[in-house]
Amino acid sequence: MAEKSLFREFTKGIVKENPVLCLVLGTCPTLAVTTSASNAIGMGIAATAVLVCSNAVISLLRKVIPDKVRIPAYITIIAGFVTIVQMLVKAFSPAINDSLGIYLPLIVVNCIILGRAEMYASKNPVLPSILDGLGMGVGFTAALLLMGMIREFLGSGSLFGVQIMPIQILIFILPPGGFFVFGMLIALANKLNTKAGKTPVNKPCAGCPMKDKCSQTECEGTKTALSDNADDNGKEAAVC
């Protein structure tokens, strides 16, 4: 029984609670580095490594870190691991380091990692936390890979650098193509979810770790009404 639930911790991140396609977290790297399949794998593995390590350490320290300073503490731990991963990538795979560029250090502010720390690792023992991190990381990598393959295939007519198609639709590796492919993938995930009888989670803020703090900004995932709602509506009417 125990083994079965541990296995479930691992698999839930891959399909059911896929961080990118179902929870819609970590959109920045998803859009930015998926211009080719190999970039997507590089980013996925780097983020998975950070996620597993930070989940493990945060879970170990969950009783030591005071509640009030937990977010800065988590960010510091995550930043430490990101620096280690950054140095390893620089040393062993400089090509990936060059192609990921600024997005490698930006794993620090990837909301999947802070989100799992806040929602899972801070409340659960070490082993499930590691498996949760691994599952979420694999789910993240799989989603990135899927998107990277679609964009590389359509945009440069190749897969993993091997030329397949003579036609190249350049727009798919440019920023607009990123937004478009991501939108279509989420639409597909929504359709599959609805078919399976589940309600699709497609609010950009619903899975965000900071959603409690920003409830006043009326993120779409949160339903709290602002006190000056009437004023807001008036302005919105003016916009339309």
């Binding site: 790297p29 990101v82 920023p175």
Partner: protein
């Protein structure tokens, strides 16, 4: 030459290298807070403010403290801690001394710590110091670049809030409702910014 390069950096940050639509930094607030024009403007002003302030602090710390001592590998940790501390400080100062401003911007501040466009901008301006060859990229350029990035964020948010307002009453296929159609709309807005490619280089030729 200095004025010319400053204007070029400012325009490039807004139009040709727009941080949201061309570099994908700060997508979460772009998708999440852009539904209403006034929240979009509030968030953008707060982001611009923190962006300039963060660059003003991190640029000298990196150039005069970390780099000469061979500590540049600590960049990620130090920068994120500086940004987190700065946001907290700004929040406290605003709350105590300028309550009216705190009321309008304060709610956005806690969000900004983990916003990747702030950390992204502070790191990208430092990369430009070594990669810019046409002129010397100074502290002033970095600050103007950060300001331009913030204004670019504002422009993108305001444009997008308008587009979303138009979408409100449209008949959208069921599986595309919500986030998917928002992303497709973002794709079109981003497409319009592709038209600016090469615009600044032609307008203000440098070196």
């Amino acid at each position: 030459m200095l004025i010319k390069s400053l204007v070029a950096v400012f325009l490039a940050a807004i139009l040709t290298e727009n941080y949201v639509l061309c570099k994908f930094l700060g997508i979460c607030p772009f998708l999440g807070v852009s539904k209403k024009l006034n929240t979009a403007v509030g968030m953008s002003v707060a982001v611009t403010f923190v962006m300039v302030l963060a660059t003003a602090v991190t640029f000298p710390i990196y150039t005069y403290l970390l780099l000469p001592n061979g500590l540049d590998y600590l960049q990620t940790i130090i920068f994120i801690l500086i940004i987190a501390g700065l946001v907290q400080l700004v929040e406290t100062v605003l709350k105590k001394y300028i309550p009216s401003l705190y009321k309008s911007l304060g709610v956005y501040l806690p969000l900004i710590t983990t916003n990747c466009c702030i950390l992204g901008v502070t790191m990208l301006v430092l990369q430009k110091v070594t990669t810019t060859t046409a002129y010397t990229y100074t502290y002033g350029h970095a600050l103007i670049n950060a300001l331009g990035a913030g204004i670019g964020f504002l422009v993108a948010m305001v444009m997008f809030a308008g587009v979303r307002g138009k979408m409100e009453n449209c008949d959208i296929p069921k599986s595309l409702q919500g986030l998917p159609i928002t992303l497709v709309a973002a794709s079109l807005v981003s497409l319009s910014f592709l038209g600016f490619a090469g615009f600044v280089d032609k307008l203000i030729p440098l070196g």
